[in-house]
Structures are given as structure tokens and as C-alpha cells.
């Protein structure tokens, strides 16, 4: 290997190490604070001779529902993401295709929903879900988020960049519209779909106020709402809170690490072909 390449590589690694330290810093700090026991003045490094590892057990003893919250969060966020991908791509396909009379108007209606703040619709949504008896249920957590004006907008704009000739050629070969969407348009739109999926999943996973409102039973909570139980009032002990944060973060982190290759491949594959 030539020397200048070696030097470049070394530089690259130094940079990567620094970056990963920056990324890992919050995780390290959480772990450090979690292990220091109850104190309002945690040190940067814990006292290694005196680590309070029981904190992780205590978190589960206090809230045996913790694993259930993680499951709830994952199920809700995953179903919402799949739902949004389906509804958005179907709607965006319709809006991006010719021969649909009032489609411009409909598109603006979809855009219009983006202008209405979530806070304005939360009470009517709550009353509706409540009247259906959907509090404390997956339906209640999921259904109000199955369609997304932003998703429709994003995918429609992307679909419009794909040459019409593809559709004409496919039709000529006897491909139906749904067939075209499924076999040609969506595979070509992978980058946009991935963006939408990540955006939706994160939004749903981090949702706070809605899950708080529609769950009255501790077992139906999602993680974001559930772990507030570890936040101290009157004095700022952070140990149990940090331990709980780490616990609920691990599954997400594990999935990300396992799925990273596919995610990146999916993104770049689409980008190169598109």
C-alpha cells in the first residue's frame, strides 16, 4: 500500500474514532450516572470500587411493565410505519398519475392537513377514539396515525420525477396500474420510501402526548410515557432514570446495528439506479 494511502487511512480512523466517541458520549454518561447511586451531584466517572449495579434490577422491580412498554412501542411504531407506507404510496400514486379529475384539489387538501397543528386535532381525535372504546388498545395507539399528509406529499413529488415513459412502456407490455406501482415505481422509489419509513417510525416511537392520553392503564403505556415514572421530583437523582433510559434504548440500538447493512444497501441501491 502506498504511503500516502496509509496516512489517509490513519487519518480516517482517527476521525472515525473521534466521531464514535462523540456519538457514544451520551450513552457513556447515562451508564456512568446510572451506576453512581442516588445523588444530585454525580461525577463524570463513577467510583469503580462502589458501583451500584442493582439499579438495573430496581428499575424492573419498580415497573414490571417495562418490557411490555417496549413491546407496545415497537408494535405501534411498526404498524404505523407500514400503514403510512401503504396509504401514502397508494394516494401519492393516484395523485401523480394522469386522468384523475380533481386530483390537484385533493392534493392541496392533503397538503392542507399539514397546516393543522397536531394540538388542534388532539381533543376531537381523543373523543372519537374514546367513543369507540379504543383507549388502552393498539387500535387507539395506531389508527389515528395511519395516514400522513407529509407522506403523500413526499412520495407524490418523488413519483413525479420518474419518467412517464416507463409507465407507458409497462402498459404496452400489459402491466396493470397496481402492477406498475408494485413492480416498477416502488422499487425505483426506495430512497423516498426509506426516508418516509425512518421519519414515521421515529415519530411514532417517540410519540408522547397521544399515548399518554389514550392509555389509562400502566400496562398499555409506551416506553416514552412509561419511563417518566423514574423521573424524580424535589431532588434531581438521575440514576434510575438513566438506567431505564439505557434499558429502553437497547432494543432500538440492537435493531439498528443488525439492520444497518440492509438499510444502507436499500438506500444506496435505490439511489444509484434511480
Amino acid at each position: 500500500m502506498p504511503r500516502h494511502v496509509k496516512r489517509q487511512n490513519a487519518l480516517l480512523y482517527v476521525l472515525l474514532v473521534l466521531m464514535s466517541l462523540a456519538v457514544l458520549f451520551p450513552l457513556f454518561l447515562s451508564l456512568s450516572v446510572a451506576l453512581q447511586g442516588p445523588t444530585v451531584a454525580p461525577q463524570f466517572f463513577p467510583d469503580f470500587a462502589n458501583l451500584d449495579v442493582n439499579v438495573f434490577r430496581d428499575v424492573f422491580v419498580t415497573e414490571p411493565n417495562l418490557p411490555a412498554w417496549i413491546v407496545n412501542s415497537f408494535i405501534a411504531a411498526t404498524v404505523i410505519t407500514i400503514g403510512v407506507l401503504i396509504t401514502s404510496s397508494l394516494a401519492a400514486f393516484a395523485l401523480a398519475m394522469p386522468g384523475f379529475g380533481a386530483k390537484k384539489l385533493l392534493f392541496f387538501v392533503c397538503l392542507g392537513t399539514l397546516m393543522i397543528p397536531f394540538e388542534a386535532t388532539i381533543i376531537p381525535n381523543y373523543l372519537f377514539i374514546s367513543s369507540l372504546g379504543w383507549r388502552d388498545s393498539y387500535q387507539g395507539l395506531i389508527v389515528p396515525f395511519l395516514a400522513s399528509g407529509f407522506g403523500i406529499f413526499l412520495l407524490r413529488q418523488y413519483f413525479l420525477t420518474i419518467p412517464r415513459e416507463l409507465f407507458e412502456a409497462a402498459s404496452m407490455d400489459g402491466c396493470t396500474r397496481i402492477g406498475y406501482l408494485w413492480r416498477i415505481l416502488l422499487p425505483l422509489s426506495l430512497p423516498a420510501l426509506a426516508t418516509l419509513a425512518i421519519y414515521t417510525f421515529l415519530g411514532a416511537y417517540n410519540a408522547y402526548y397521544w399515548p399518554l392520553l389514550v392509555t389509562d392503564n400502566t400496562a398499555w403505556r409506551t416506553t416514552q410515557v412509561g419511563i417518566t415514572v423514574f423521573r424524580n421530583i424535589e431532588y434531581q437523582f438521575f440514576n434510575t432514570q438513566m438506567a431505564a433510559n439505557l434499558i429502553v434504548m437497547l432494543p432500538t440500538l440492537a435493531l439498528l446495528i443488525l439492520g444497518q447493512r440492509q438499510l444502507v444497501q436499500g438506500l444506496t441501491a435505490g439511489a444509484l439506479k434511480g
Binding site: P38, F44, D58, T62, N217, I227, R231, N232
Partner: protein
Amino acid sequence: MNKKSISRRSLLKGIGFAAGAATLAACGGAAATPVAPTKAPESAAAAPSATTGAAAAAEPTATTAAAAPAATTVPPTAPPAPTITPVPLVEQPSGSTKIAFWYGLGGNLGNVVRQTANKFNQSQSKYYIEPVFQASYDDTINKINTALAGGELPNVVQIFDAGTQRMIDSKRIRPVQDLLAADGMSSFMDDLEPAVRSYYTVGGVMYSMPFNSSTAMTYINKKMFREAGLDADKTIWTYTELLDAAKKLTKKDGDAFKVAGLAFNPSGWFMEQQHAVHEQLMAEPDNGRKERAQKYVFNGETGVKWLEFLKQMIADGSGVNYGSGNPQAAFVTGQAAIHFDSIASLRGISSSAEKTGVEVGVAYMPRRDGAKVGRTIIGGASLWLTDAGTKEQQDGGWAFLKYATQTDTQGWWSANTGYYPVRQSSYETADMKQALDKYPQFRVAIEQIRSAPESVFNSGVISGTFVPMRQEVQKAMDAFWSGKAASAKAALDEAIAKTNEQLEEYNSTVSA
């Protein structure tokens, strides 16, 4: 410093919730820690004094607090750590009536709430209280507001002080005072701590059951006080005296603080306390105590002087505004000699201070020079019984409220949390006597809320827009201390305009 605090504040606001916010706050504490200057292993923090045992009961005198000897303190064998035992809930026995109980007090203190429910559930088998945590005090009242629009109210709910008027206005409350009268328990009202009773009595009716009550205190680093030649046992400080003390306590290394005289943050609660101490109204008429509050008036001399007092601290270079940062950590690590905090923080502060060797003392909230002695307001939360559910559920809810405020329950509750017992008779319990031995500072807190008779001033302001009002007061403090507002008066005038608009709007919706 100001600029820094504010940018941290807006950053925190943006992040909003648990992981991020907690990480940052912890970061502030942790990053600051290595500078901790004074380690004093020989003076164990806040050890009980020998003189405190006898006079434990209901009427502690000024002398017991002042008598705490400095030199004779011994390190306690078991650290007086706050309850940190995790508390799983007991199972519901079959055939019992389930009663929904929402609460907003989280963390370690929330564990004691759960324990209270467990104790009640184990004391009888007819009813089962199911505590459901609702994320925070703020979120609890938000959930109640939403449920009022068309959901299901819980049978019992814990609501913070600031939500009192809103709960009364819901018209879905069963006033506790009526139920007490129906049960022939009028002596119960007499046994309540007067400051607590007067806080939760609005228009002559006590609507909710007092549960966890605290007040604001001045926390001082006793060792630093002695080293600076200041009286570490003095409980009443005037603004001038405290400015002077802060100057003496401040230690600097060039421009950087080694020890700040006073660490504080913009808190609407302390502003309310100042109005109570100086017997001034926050809102007219009568702080909303006799009839509905119509307008806020906190832009008078009391508010202005408080803001100017703290601004003077900054100007003197002896006070640091921590913004939304953490003055507790600074105090506990010896980076600040004085800070204002709730008495309910005493446990957490003491147990942390024990590790750093800081000796914790408390004093009353300061007052203007020559001001006559008024007292602070209690804060905290109370338990509300709603009209939701079956008669059986309501009876069960009422039984729980009575259980939670029994003399022995409140003694145990106070000993395990650091809140005041709401019953005066609770000071006679063994739990409470032991707690007072462990935390002699708590006596000063008791004296403080008994230092003046009840009045509309020290009952505290009450209004339907209490929460946004606090936020506006806080903004006014930020604006003045950071130099964005020309004067304290101008900053408070602006807050008055905004809060009165909110109040008018709220009042128009409830009277209609």
C-alpha cells in the same frame, strides 16, 4: 453566564423530554463537579444534634434549631438516604372494588405514594386502589382536562397546588369538607396543619384532601458560613444581610467562580413566596381566596424588589443564575454557598451532601430590610375525589383519602418523603420523632410555616391560569436578569399584561 444559561434553557425546552433533557442536566452537574473545592471529611453533613430529641413534638421552638452545635456532630451510622427501595404494587384481591388513582409524583417519592396505596390495599380487602402514574403533575392535569371533555375521570387524582382552581371549576369534585362533616370528623379539620388547611380552603370550603406539602427554604452551607464569620444558625435574613453574606462567601479564581455566594434560578414559586412573606397580594381580590381572582398584581414593590435583589447579586459578582440548570448540584458540591429550594428536597440534598462533606443548614426565605415577619406558602399536591364511577368506588376513594391522612400514615409518609405531615398530631408518632432527629433542619421549616397566622397573603394566590402565570413570571425574570428588559418593573408589567389577558379569557369561559 446569563447568556449561557438561557441558551441552555432554550435548548432544553427544545429537547423536551426524558433522555435528552436528563442527559444534559446530568451533564451540567457532572461537568461542573471536578471544580468542587472544599472537602471537609471531619464535619459530617447534617448530623443530628444531641439536643433535638426531647422537644420533638408539635411545637418546636426557635432555640432547638439554633442550638444545633457545630463541633459535636458525629457521622450518622446509617446514611439518611431517601427511600429508594423499589416498590412493586400488590395484586388486586378477587371480589374487591377497583378504584382508579392517578398520581403525578414520580421517582423515589412516587415509590412512597405506591407504598401508601399498598398499605391501604393490605389494610382491608373491600377496595383496591390502583395507582397509575401520569407522567408528571402537569401531564396529570392535562389528562384530567382532556378526560373532562369526554373521557373517563379517575376516582381519585393527585393534583398539584397550581391546579386547585382548575379542579374546583371542573364541577366534578366531591368536596372533602362535606364528606368529613358527613362522617362527623370535624376534629380532623382542627388537627390539620394550619398553613396546609388554609392553602386548600377556597371560598371557605376545603375541596381536596391535603397530601404532600412543602415550602420554600434558603439552604446554606454551614461550614462556609462559619469560615466567612457569618452566623450559620441565623434563620431570618434580610436582602441586605444576604447580599453582604454572599459577597463574603464568594471565592473567585480570576473571573471564574470557585464558590458562588448564591446559586438561584428563575422560579415563579419563589416570587409567590416573597409576596406571602411581605403580606402582599399576587392577585385581586384577596388572592382569589374569597371570590374568583380577577387580575394579577405582582408588578408592585414586592415583585420589583425581589427581581432587583437577585439582579444585585449578579451585579455584585456573588450570585449565579443557573437558569434551568441545577443549583442543587452546585450547592451539594460546594460550588455555591446558598440556594433556594423546597424543604422536600432536604433528603436528596442531605444524602448527596454526605458524600461531598457539605454541612447543610436551612433558613427562612429572605425578606426586605425592616419588613415585618410574614410566612411562606406551602406548595405540593392534594388528593381529589371525583364524582366518577359507582357509589362503591366513590366510597372506596374516600376511604383511601382518609387512610392516607391518618395520623400514623402521615407520620410515616413525612418520615419517608420529607414533606410536612398534614396532621399536627403526626409529630407525635415514632416515625416522625425519628425523622426529626435525623433531619433537625426540618424544625426550621416547621417554624417557618407557623411563624405567622393564616391570611389571604400566606394562603397563596389561586387562579384558573396559575400555570401559565408562573411561566410568564419566569420569563419576566429571565428578561430582566439577562438585560433584555430595561427594568424589573417593565418586565413585570409585560407579564401582568399577558397574564391578565389569559385570566380574563379563562374567567369568561367558566362563568359562562
